[in-house]
């Protein structure tokens, strides 16, 4: 069965996804959205793993993806728990509210 998309196109897609993730981390102030953006970046990497695994006919990449997904699940569990703890503390999930250590 011929591939729907070539590796080249998948790499571009992964790049775009990654860039979206980066921009999200940089520009958004909502911690939940930042976490989501991190997930997008991870998935961009996953996409590359899968694509190259397919392209090189090597299943190592797909195994890596399983690992990454497990870690991502753990990470989002910890991350969201942190967000909840912060929200209880500061009644907000915005990064600009977290300025307790700032010298003003």
């Amino acid at each position: 069965m011929p591939d729907l998309l070539s590796i080249r196109e998948i790499v571009i897609l992964a790049f775009v996804l990654f860039a979206i993730g980066v921009l999200g981390v940089i520009t958004r102030r909502n911690l939940i959205i930042i976490l989501m953006s991190v997930e997008i970046m991870l998935n961009a990497a996953n996409l590359l793993f899968v694509a190259f695994s397919r392209g090189f006919n090597d299943s190592t990449g797909q195994i890596m993806v399983l690992f990454v997904m497990a870690i991502a699940a753990a990470e989002s569990a910890v991350g969201l728990a942190l967000v909840i703890a912060l929200f209880r503390n500061a009644r907000s999930v915005m990064t600009n509210a977290m300025d307790k250590l700032k010298d003003t």
Binding site: V22, V25, I26, T27, R29, T95, N96, M98, D99, K102
Partner: protein
Amino acid sequence: MKQEWIPYLIVAVPLLPLVAAILNAAIYAAAWRRPSARVQYWTILISIAAVIFALAAHFSVLHLHPSLVGEGSATIINPGAWLTLNYPLRLDWAFRFDALTSIMVPVVLFIGLMVQIFSIGYLSDRRNDYARYYAWLSFFMFSMLLLVVAGNLFVFFLGWESVGLSSYKLISFYVEKDAAQRAGKKAFIINRIGDAALLIGMFAIFRVANTADFREIALAFSKGSIAANHANFIALMIFIAAAAKSAQLPLYTWLPDAMTGPTPVSALIHAATMVTAGIFLMLRLEPVFVLAPQASMIVAWTGALTALVAAFIAVAQTDIKKVLAFSTVSQLGLMVLAVGSGAYAAAFFHLFTHAFFKAMLFLSAGAVITFKHHEQNIRRMGGLVRSRPMLALLFWLALAALAGLPGLSGFFSKDHILGAAFALKSGGLVIGSIAILVSLLTAFYSFRLGIIVFHGKPSEADVHHDDVHAAEPSVSFYLPLILLAFPAVAAGWFGLPELFTGYESRFFSYFNHNLPIAPYEFVSLMQWHLAHHAEMMVVAAGSAAALIGVVGALLWYGLMRRRPVAEGAYHGMFSRLSLNKLYIDEIYQAVLVNNYRKIADKVSDMDFRIIPAMSDGVGHLVQTVGSIVARLQTGALAHYAAYSFAGILLLLLILLGTV
């Protein structure tokens, strides 16, 4: 007694006073808060015992020594290297015992002993300072003895510098007096000039002779391989050093100021330990001077002019110690004149006789000052002969010796110098006439001093205070004076002129036969041989000049009862010049000190501007850079995230670019 002891005994001579100095310093450090009579007795006992043992050591050496006459008779001790640098620069602990040493050591020790005994009474109102005083006094004698027994220039220099240090400490002994501190500093700073010249001279000698040892220097200079201009340069440098220590013309101003120290210290400085060091240096380096006729002429002229200027100034001084101080400068001028004209034995002989009568003069002046309750102005003295006839007799004896009255020690030694001055080939008549004039002035101011202090009407102060004799020290004052009176009268008989006796006197033959290089060639280069009748003329002229001075003083101050007028009153031109010391101190102040201060002010101004600017500049730089860098730190999380991504991107680009 064995010969092997000689080196130890020679080294013991300077070391004993050093031990006394250290012990006294320890006593002072331990007991200055709780001074007790017991501690004071120990201080004096230690100091005097050290000197007596040193004298004993010296005379044991003389007794054991096979002979001090002739070639190679000097004992040289070299216990080892002090410092070894690149060959041939080696600094040894070398000591030397020869004819010059054998006469100088007992003079220093004897005068020092007299001064120590006298000081017990003189400082009896400052007993708490005994330990400090005797520590420095002993150190002073140690320094001078080290200089005298030094076997090479480096050990000599060590003694020379220590002499400067201890004179500074003793001149400014009265710590509460501002003038004493200034005088101490002045002495120290002016001596620095000489020290610099001595260092230059030392290194120049080292350069041309490759050695610092006195015996090897004499060998090197006697071989004739030293260029004349080198010898002249070295001689000049040595002379500048001697001029600072021995108070010669451009550099004498510290000596009259040094009168602010305790009077016994003045006696020591003027007779034995300080001012004689310069003359001693020139005699020690006689091998250099015999090769330097041009420099010797400068030496002779400087000595003659110093003698004249100082004698002139002494005539109108009203401070008893200033008169004596200027008389010392003048007598030192005569010694320097003798060195310059090649009459080394005459210079040393005058140093020898002068030490006794000048120590005696200063000590009796100290007694006068004590009896007059710290009054030093001779205008407020007079008639002291009635209450203290003994002191008057001793003072007059010393004055007569200074004036050079026939038969006393000053007469014989001065006569040798007059003879040498007249015999000079170039300018002999002028220098000789100056020396005659100096004799006249010397006799005049000596008798003026004696008449004003001891005769005439007693001052009112005396009438009131005359009944407190009992509390005054008598043994510690009169014992040293009486002991000094014998050599002050008789020291001249060791060196009777050949003219009277027909043979060379013991002192002169002993000295002349032990000079490192026989100076006969040099003397015949510098001096005519005086005919018998010419020598008689010189003796007659010298005696006549002294007598004219004496008679003049007797007429003016004795018969006509003139007294020195008050300092502010009108003076004729000559007496004003003399009273104000020819304004030399003022000239130095205006020309040297003030300009130096101006330069120093400028430099300190730079200090206060440039160095703060530099240190502030560093601070400003750090602040500016910091404030620029600080702008990156916004506190917004987004910015930091952007920076780290940018960093990763950059790394990635670099990696991609290179791999």
